[in-house]
Symmetry: C2
Subunit: 351 residues, 2 copies
């Protein structure tokens, strides 16, 4: 059959330090053949998920996933709509989540992490990139599998979350607060975000890490020290929380966004607190818990319905703005999930 | 009754950075009353144990044990001989291990961590400060309780030990090698020590961290990456091992001797490998496993008899040299356990 014009954003060169909007990415206008092989589907991308982990995928180092290649379409999780199908599991008009990358259209196979979205009323499809996507699952498995929240959670348990107004942090903080009843302190980068944490998400305390008295405030907010620290940022915040870590405290190393652009990142100088407090720092990757996604997603859906889990999105319009949106994410300009909206859902074709 | 003259070394002032032999400690000649209260014993100190942890006890910070006070006798574990007793559990001539500190004589109560030593033939009493003391127990519980060696150990398991020629490191390395059959790489600070690790202790590889090509050698020695890292040193060695950590690797944070004298220690810059490799760093304190000491000591005694566990001591003569010996420990001048010999055992009074 024919071909369609496709806008793609590719990795042009690996950044050293900060992303360079003039050099790191390149926008290509290409032609995509709409001929489909066995089991393939053609999709139109609706939303692109922006995640701190992307900075790691751009590095040429051994990691949990291969680096994005130079001149390859930038990798991302997307929500997309099927517009042509050669696979009876995916019908035209249906919504899917997949690793489709920074482009308007894609031909996908089931191996592209293809998951059908069962939308429920009142929930935007973009939620499947946020609370009901890998972002939310990351918060869930970090707390359950690394943070031992089932064992430690409760009113005597102090939980601190960095990047608490972000996509993953806000979910982790709300689960700790509203599902396990912990004392929860959220750390964020502006007074507005701190107000959001306390007034809208119901956390006990919101702390602005840019405050000159931040470390004093952190001490005052953790009189019984920190039992669980869900860390998305690393850097000085991690060191400050190591200084307040409790006996057998657990540090969930989810991310280290403050260091991802650093050529020579600073490590946590105070890590010897792990010895004196018999504490643990442990990292994880959400993919390892794929067999438990269904149960977790059911829990999260219920919590949304019960009002225990709220979410915000920061949406940037237009695929051409994906690079700018990624830079904004590293600047902390977002509250909640950072997304690029690429196209509207075609409602006629949905049924 | 009377009194005896006692040489005591006290903490005169808290060092900032390196220990200052002119200022940090003070030697006092005092008089000790030999009158004993209920359950008390009078002991003559034979050996003093020197341990990296002592640097932490000199700091005025929240830790697992209270700091040594200014003008207080420096804290240490000692092997001592009972010379007068008001406690039927401890007879004159018997040997004990206790927290008796840097002094020639001490009046002790059971609360001073008093443990009777059941010497067996061919084993020096000083062994109860080394392999059969808290030093050896530290190696044992680090591997068993934090390193998950029972689950991970075997010929496909690569274990790296820093400070491997030291008291704790040499025990950890030998247990991993000769009890669990792991591939074991020991890291030490001289070619002599590396030769000792391979030729006498039977490790697979000894690496000198002062070599200009150390990090290349570490990579070459760990083709299957590092499953368990038993870390006594911290610093650049820890970072180098983080760069080689395996999937679900375990870092046993036993000590960080390279940082103990630092005013502003450097943290492990590459700790984000914990995320990508789903790895864990965890600290511990041997005291937490006191209920399991008897079983562990029995295991270790058997391994000594079977030739699986060898040990060396570096012995400095004379209580007045305890401060110098401590500085030597931080300089890495010792192979095996660092001890001060204070007095000979009185063999006549032993039976």
């Amino acid at each position: 059959m024919g071909a369609i014009q496709n806008t793609q954003i590719v990795l042009a060169e690996r950044p050293v330090g900060d992303i360079d909007l003039k050099k790191t990415f390149r926008t290509d206008k290409t032609s995509l053949s709409t001929e489909l092989g066995p089991n393939e589907i053609l999709v139109k991308v609706l939303f692109i998920s922006l995640d701190p982990a992307m900075r790691g995928w751009m590095r040429d180092v051994r990691s949990y996933i291969r680096p994005v290649r130079i001149n390859e379409v930038m990798r991302s999780a997307d929500v997309a709509q099927v517009i042509k199908s050669n696979n009876s599991d995916y019908k035209v008009g249906e919504l899917v989540r997949a690793t489709a990358g920074w482009q308007e259209y894609a031909v996908l196979q089931p191996s592209d992490d293809l998951v059908k979205i069962k939308a429920f009323p009142g929930v935007s499809p973009s939620t499947y990139l946020g609370v009901l996507g890998l972002t939310g699952l990351t918060a869930y498995f970090g707390l359950y599998e690394v943070g031992e929240i089932v064992k430690k959670g409760g009113p005597n348990c102090t939980v601190v979350v960095s990047g608490a107004a972000g996509a993953t942090g806000s979910v982790a903080a709300q689960i700790a607060k509203h599902v396990f009843g912990c004392r929860v302190i959220g750390i964020a980068g502006s007074q507005d975000k701190c107000d959001y944490l306390v007034n809208e998400l119901g956390l006990d305390v919101g702390l602005n890490y840019k405050s000159k008295t931040f470390f004093k405030e952190l001490s005052a907010a953790t009189p019984k020290l920190i039992d669980i620290f869900f860390d998305n940022t690393g850097g000085d915040i991690l060191d400050g929380c190591l200084r307040r870590i409790a006996f057998q405290g657990r540090i969930i190393v989810c991310g280290a966004i403050s260091t991802y652009n650093s050529v020579e990142p600073k490590g946590p100088a105070y890590y010897s607190a792990l010895i004196t407090q018999r504490a643990r720092m442990e990292g994880f990757i959400v993919f390892d818990y794929a067999k438990q996604y269904a149960k977790a997603t059911e829990d999260m859906s219920n919590w949304i319905k019960e009002g225990k889990l709220k979410s915000r999105e920061t949406v940037v319009q237009g695929i051409e703005n994906a690079p700018v949106a990624l830079v904004k994410l590293f600047n902390g300009d977002n509250t909640g999930k950072m997304l690029v909206k690429v196209a509207d859902e075609d409602s006629k074709s949905r049924l």
